[in-house]
């Protein structure tokens, strides 16, 4: 085995970096605190109860035991690459050996939090096509060792791939490290733009939830915020106050989404590797996510009014992972331009150049149905609110005006079409969203028909892929059957790997 620029011989068992112990201890405590913080809070509030002490001691005991086992685990944890397999030997009491054939390894991701960065180490996640049990992750490897490790696996994988004629790569790459082509780097200016144009409604929602939560907790602790507010003479419930609160929520959520975007996407680079994409980003926790082409199930991009003004899109790639059912690993890029998206499209689907000739729209009966439901729901709600709290009616009236417009726009914008290889879905209400999914990624298709749909000879189509599903609602029943036949025929005839 020739080795370039690395001095690691993975054929002999290696241990993780010694910092792994630190990481493990931090992890243990984070899990413990995450699980037990309500108990701790209770304990702090209510010190007198002796029962709490017993509980606390038990917890501390369990925590310490867990930590000791973790540390022992570190010293008994070895990994090596031998005979085309990644071999992990572990176990404190018994010895357990896990071997994973290299060709089963799908992606290798690096992650860094603050400790990792200070110590010059990375967390390495090895994703396989098997079940979640076979997931492997190393808490701490020195950066150069991690890179050598990844290169060695990729190289070995490529070598194996040569023997298999059906894989898409025909020749071995010249260098062990795949060449990366940068698609975009999020400069501070674009990061700012991404923050400004982020979805503030989502942040507002989170903020409101947070307020409600606080409100709830205060009530539990015996404070009554409503009574407190009542005692301040100026703050009367009024339309002005309502507007003020709305403005406040908006400003704060604006700041929150700015900060969230800035922290999450700080110094983001999105690049094209040999057979996939890599994203590196984050201020506090540096994250590297990679996706191989054949694992990517759908790509989609969307804008909102602000983003459209700047010509920017939020871009998402969903990929199948071995824990597909639970976790959907997605690559998310804020503030991408149309050219950058086109580049991704071209490199991901080089075989597809055409756009659908015709599109299907949703039937108007869906709109009627939705409007009827909204009217009914709001009438009931408003009737209820009329007797309880008059000021909440302001909020609901706004909603009452907004929802029908949203439904109408959704109805107008929805378009479904497909070519020989790809499915295109355009949707959105205020913003525009486009999703693309290769037909050979179809896992199963379901035609659904409610009594209302049957009356109007309509049906909905649900197309499942390994990272979720796409719905084609309220199309003519005959169209649904036709589309299903077409997609099934193409999916079954295709020999491209779907995962």
């Amino acid at each position: 085995m020739e080795k370039k620029n690395n001095s690691y011989d993975f054929s002999v068992p290696h241990r993780q970096s010694i910092y792994a112990i630190l990481i493990i201890i931090v992890k243990t405590y984070r899990v413990l605190i995450g699980q037990l913080w309500p108990v701790l809070v209770l304990f702090l509030i209510n010190r007198s109860s002796s029962q709490n002490y017993v509980f606390l001691y038990v917890m501390i005991g369990l925590g310490t035991l867990g930590m000791i086992i973790s540390i022992l685990n570190f010293f008994r944890y070895f990994f090596s690459i031998r005979g085309g397999e990644l071999i992990i030997e572990k176990g404190v009491f018994g010895k357990k050996k896990v071997s994973i054939p290299l060709e089963r390894i799908q992606t290798i991701n690096f992650e860094q939090n603050i400790i990792h960065r200070l110590a010059q180490i990375v967390r390495v996640k090895v994703d396989t096509a098997g079940s979640a049990k076979e997931e492997v992750s190393f808490d701490a490897l020195p950066i150069d060792m991690a890179e050598a490790f990844r290169d060695e696996i990729l190289l070995a994988k490529n070598r194996l791939a040569v023997n298999v004629p059906a894989t898409e790569e025909a020749e071995l790459p010249a260098e062990p490290t795949p060449a990366y082509q940068t698609i975009l780097t999020l400069h501070p200016k674009n990061l700012l733009l991404a923050g400004i144009t982020a979805n503030h409604i989502r942040s507002s929602g989170l903020l409101l939830l947070f307020f409600l939560w606080i409100f709830d907790k205060l009530n539990e602790l015996g404070f009554d915020p409503v009574e407190y507010v009542d005692r301040i003479p100026i703050l009367e419930y009024s339309f002005v106050l309502f507007l003020f609160v709305l403005l406040l929520v908006f400003v704060v959520s604006f700041i929150i989404s700015m900060v969230r975007t800035a922290i999450g996407h700080y110094n983001l680079t999105f690049s094209r590797s040999e057979r996939g994409f890599v994203v590196e980003s984050g201020l506090l926790t540096r994250k590297v996510v990679s996706a191989l082409d054949h694992k990517i199930q759908t790509i989609s991009w969307y804008d909102n009014l602000l983003k459209r003004f700047f010509g920017l899109y939020d871009f998402t790639m969903s990929q199948a992972s071995s824990e597909q059912v639970h976790v959907k690993k997605a690559i998310q890029i804020p503030a991408m331009t149309q050219e950058e998206i086109d580049f991704v499209k071209k490199s991901l689907y080089p075989y597809a150049k055409k756009l659908p000739k015709t599109y299907l729209s949703m039937s108007k009966y869906r709109l009627y149905r939705r409007l009827a439901f909204i009217t009914l729901g709001l009438l009931v709600l408003l009737a209820g609110l009329y007797f309880t709290s008059i000021y909440a009616i302001y909020a609901w009236t706004l909603l009452a005006l907004y929802l029908p417009i949203q439904e109408y726009l959704t109805h107008r914008k929805y378009k479904f079409g497909y070519t020989k290889n790809l499915i295109f879905i355009h949707h959105g209400a205020v913003g525009d969203k486009t999703s693309i999914m290769p037909i050979h990624k179809v896992q199963s298709i379901n035609i659904k028909q409610s009594p209302y749909q049957r009356k109007h000879d309509l049906a909905s189509l649900v197309i499942y892929h390994a990272a979720g599903f796409q719905t084609v609602p309220y199309i003519a029943y005959d169209d649904a059957i036709f589309v299903m036949d077409q997609l099934m025929g193409r999916a079954e005839a295709s020999t491209r790997p779907w995962m």
């Binding site: 059906a166 896992q443 499942y464 020999t495």
Partner: protein
């Protein structure tokens, strides 16, 4: 782009009309014994819930005031469920083609699922206590599309269920063989 085409990938143009249509599918009914099994499991559910209500009636004074409404609702709901057992049975059916399996169900809310064999992750045959009583089996088919896209066909004869399972597994293996 050329190397992708030359790499054993073939995607010949297919005439649109030439794809087989699910319209032509001849759906197989489930075994008639599954109707009896459905009645029995409904009856068990009916009795268990009824017992629960009676216990609640005896234990809680609050519940007593609206017990009769609950009881009425209970009878109406289960009456409807019993009434529609036959239609539900008639609505269900499966069909197997060379490359996929289809399953339809639902009296009011109709559903038709098609799963290609090449996408089947794994496949199993189960037998619950009621199934065993009536000598029936449930065939479960799992894909990578998640729980909502998985298929479960109950009320098959064990031999049929196992036969279909073996067939699907063979087809799945064939496909993987083709790919590698």
């Amino acid at each position: 782009m050329e190397h992708i085409i030359s790499d054993g990938f073939e995607n010949p143009q297919v005439e649109i009309k030439s794809y087989p249509s699910i319209r032509q599918l001849d759906f197989q009914a489930l075994h008639p014994r599954s109707v009896k099994a459905a009645y029995l499991s409904l009856l068990i559910g009916f009795m268990v819930l009824l017992l629960g209500y009676v216990i609640a009636y005896l234990l809680s004074a609050d519940f007593r005031s609206f017990f009769w409404y609950v009881l009425l609702g209970h009878f109406v709901v289960f009456g409807l469920l019993f009434y529609f057992v036959q239609s539900r049975y008639l609505a269900k059916g499966y069909a197997i083609r060379a490359r996929d399996i289809s399953y339809r169900s639902g009296v009011f809310f109709k559903s038709l699922v098609v799963i290609p064999f090449s996408r089947v992750q794994h496949c199993e045959v189960d037998q619950g206590p009621i199934d065993r009583l009536f000598e029936l089996s449930t065939l479960r088919i799992f894909t990578a599309g998640g729980a909502s896209s998985d298929l479960s066909i109950s009320g098959l004869e064990p031999e049929v269920a196992n036969h279909i399972k073996d067939f699907i597994i063979r087809r799945t293996l064939d496909r993987h063989g083709e790919e590698e």
